[in-house]
Symmetry: C2
Amino acid sequence: VRHAVILAGGSGTRLWPASRRARPKQLLALGADPEAMVGAAVRLGREVAGDVLVVTAEAQVAATRLVIPGVELVAEPFGRNTAAAIGLAAAILLARDPDASLVILPADQHVADRAGLARVLDIALAAAEQTDAIATVGIPPTRPDTGFGYLELTAAAVPGAVQPVTRFVEKPDLATAERYVASGRYLWNAGIFCATAKRLLAELDAHLPDTARAVRDIARDPALARERYQALPSISIDHAVMEKADRVVTVPAAVGWDDVGSWAALPAVRGVDKAGNTVVGPTVVIDGSNNVAISDDDTLIAMVGVSDLVVVKHGDAILVIRKSAAQDVRKVIEELGARGLARYL
Amino acid sequence: VRHAVILAGGSGTRLWPASRRARPKQLLALGADPEAMVGAAVRLGREVAGDVLVVTAEAQVAATRLVIPGVELVAEPFGRNTAAAIGLAAAILLARDPDASLVILPADQHVADRAGLARVLDIALAAAEQTDAIATVGIPPTRPDTGFGYLELTAAAVPGAVQPVTRFVEKPDLATAERYVASGRYLWNAGIFCATAKRLLAELDAHLPDTARAVRDIARDPALARERYQALPSISIDHAVMEKADRVVTVPAAVGWDDVGSWAALPAVRGVDKAGNTVVGPTVVIDGSNNVAISDDDTLIAMVGVSDLVVVKHGDAILVIRKSAAQDVRKVIEELGARGLARYL
């Protein structure tokens, strides 16, 4: 049976002040519709699988439950990156269903064409089930982004086709990324993939045996979770498994995917108006373009004579940041902690 | 007897969103102490004169009374610029006191050294009373500002000395302003001056007779105000009287004066921190300088990678404006009106 596993344990700070400790990125609704990203992931999971299991952090269980009531949650006592989270879900589902096949979906991504992605996932699941492959979804790049990993193919990508992956590539520099995009043989690694639970645990047995043992133990006895998790290495499924596994394939999916890794990604998600600005909430932009202005309530944002700027009002905080420095919001997080202003985190 | 007249009828929009229709600039406290500018003007008036009369607009009477309770207010039914407002105050005070001498103080200025200005006003009042002069206060310029009018002297300015004014000069261009500052013979016109009520009304009789007649009529019968005011020309005391009057003198006063004509003036009023930023309220500025960041409550303002920017959060509005374009806040006012967002004005 097909099961969807939603990875919802992130605590992303790159979308501060919308994302906070108590409201991580996956609980936000950044697209035009008011559905939180984790809710959209659950809905997609239900479309392509029989049931949905959400892996989240203990500290986020309550907030997550409010957003997706009635969905089964597994709480990790500590964050140990994706290898542990996926391993735990695979062990739990395998114990219930020896023929479990899984679709792994990050909870904090924006997908414009969800129906298109559902069709691709059907193809990827079938490939995983019929050939025992690990079947990733690869996104044809629309820009030479240096913030993503890439999948290398043997030939030009063909949307909807199952193609072998020869290599997982780490975040490249700009020149390399430009070469990748021009070649047509590289896809963004979206962190979405399908495999049978049996295959996944076999890979963990081979490449990360301590983690494999721990997640099997926890699946048998959840009371062991805290003690066993603490000792686990924090490592991504890409590093632990993907880069080492045989029979990795991908299905290219041009579905308007974005991981919304910073406020600079918002124009891709929300579009731009005639003046080239992306605005949400009551806003007035005069003599400026390429701005992002977001207000979460009736507070007006008025911008005059500025361009390439991000202004976000959310709750009790306002961020004003150069768009090209949007990743530097982490400096605000550090500074707030250092200056005893953690109440804004 | 000496009387202070405070001109508090302005509806300045250049400090939006702190200044609003319901809270004009003179009701704001922009300096480090929490006293509204009109309150500071009243206090100065009490120090140099026996009583204080505040001229304000009908629509602002209630808000003004809250800020300076117990102070005598005269309400203009329509704004008709400073010639009418000063003429009305002069007529009212002359009717009570034939020997009235007046010190005219705008209500929306910041003065760092109020005691110093009080000393200069004593000198100016004495000159006005003893020589029947119009005695202005001139501010030695600290920068070639093109937003002020200038007073031209016959010789270099001497702080505290009574010196003849040969000419009132309109706002100059930058090259002219630089020449003025370099010469030492030009002072900023602060709109502060002293004269007897009799002399002021005589000047109005000579140069603006309709206004002189109207304000005398209203002083006799306040019920006439609405009808008589409506027809008056809107003209400044500078244009109507100062530029034409004989025996105009000035007393140079280096007292840390600023009219806070836009947010760009705030560093002069509030100072700058080590990083070169002027911040009020909870703020974090990273990788940036020459910024102004003001929050009126507990809302945090975090700025990253931006310089020469003004960010003001006040009530239900946030302004983000290039410092060099700070005068363009009027464009926001226009746009809000045009777009049916007048609730933010």
